[in-house]
Amino acid sequence: MASTSEVATAQASPGAASRPARAPALAHGWRALRTGVAFFTFGLGAVVVAGIVWPVRLLPGWTRARREVAVQRVVRAAFRLFAWWMTSLGLIRVSWIGAERLRGRAPRLVVANHPTLIDVVLLLAQLPQADCIVKTAARRNPFMRSIVTAAGYLANEDGDALVDACAERIARGRSVVLFPEGTRSPRGGLRRFQRGAAHIALKSGCPIVPVVITCRPPTLLKGQPWHDVPDRRACFVLRVAEPIDPAQYRDAETTAPVAARRLTADLQTLYERQLSADKGHP
């Protein structure tokens, strides 16, 4: 994946202004074709990964947790490859800021806003181990279901049970990734955060590591068809903020629901400020 410096240099390549601009319709068609190739590759990759992880369940003497982490490593490798492939196709450029906050001792509760379809790909490509929460729809596809089940990803179902399940994973030393908006963000903005992440952090005592994702120009939005491509490469910046310790929200006077509300409100403010600051940059 591209580093920050690569982003800075690649944005203004020398001689770009003097090159004749490709006809817009042709350029659009060419980009749509490459996007189609990327989508096809993703589907094909899901079949290949499902084939690779299937025998993992048969490994003798491996605990379920060990098998799940092994499958998550395969998913991470596949997502790294896919991110590289999308970059090579000229569709995206990815830049991480503060990624070192995602390394070192787990567990951590990683939360992120969700501007595009591939946020989870970029996040999981960066994390050595991560339990993520998967929409029920992803379980309908047999290949996806096979991977999701083998990796031990959690189903996005009942709120109480999900909070308990995430806290239990964290107690076992696993990291969890979730999108507090619950679904993809609206164009250029944020939905109101749900309080699940705060409840999990307060219950488990695990710090929240916020990742603020920006994508310019916006692409792969909710409801946007794959062939509706932007006029140029989409630049992703994933900025990892200081971890938030949930302990500072709990005291003898504060009830759990109030602590969850305050923590969620602060988290939302952090994202709104960062996204607003990013909008001011070219």
Binding site: G159, R195, G196, T255, P257, V258, R261, R262
Partner: protein, 89 residues
């Protein structure tokens, strides 16, 4: 001898105090027609917490099925009125 009946007004005031203290809501938000999820923004975990508080502080036990049927503050008042007064008679 039967204990005196608890009025709906009294129940409403106790519920209002409980919601204000437990969920950092404002007094004026707690009106009989206020919807717990849409207006007071209680989520599923808050509702569970709320049921526990009702049991601990108002001695009102609400089953999971009953909790699912509750939409507004008035629904809780009615349920509490019925349960508390049945228990006293």
């Amino acid at each position: 001898m039967n204990q005196p009946e608890v009025s709906k007004d009294e129940i409403f005031k106790r519920l209002r105090d409980l919601l204000v203290e437990g969920f950092e809501l404002r007094d004026e938000q707690i009106v009989p027609t206020a919807r717990l999820i849409d207006d007071l923004e209680l989520d599923s975990l808050d509702l569970v917490d709320f049921a526990v508080r009702l049991e601990q502080q108002v001695d009102l036990e609400i089953a999971e099925d009953e909790l699912k049927g509750i939409k507004t503050v008035q629904d809780i008042v009615d349920l509490a009125y019925q349960k508390l007064n049945t228990a006293r008679s």
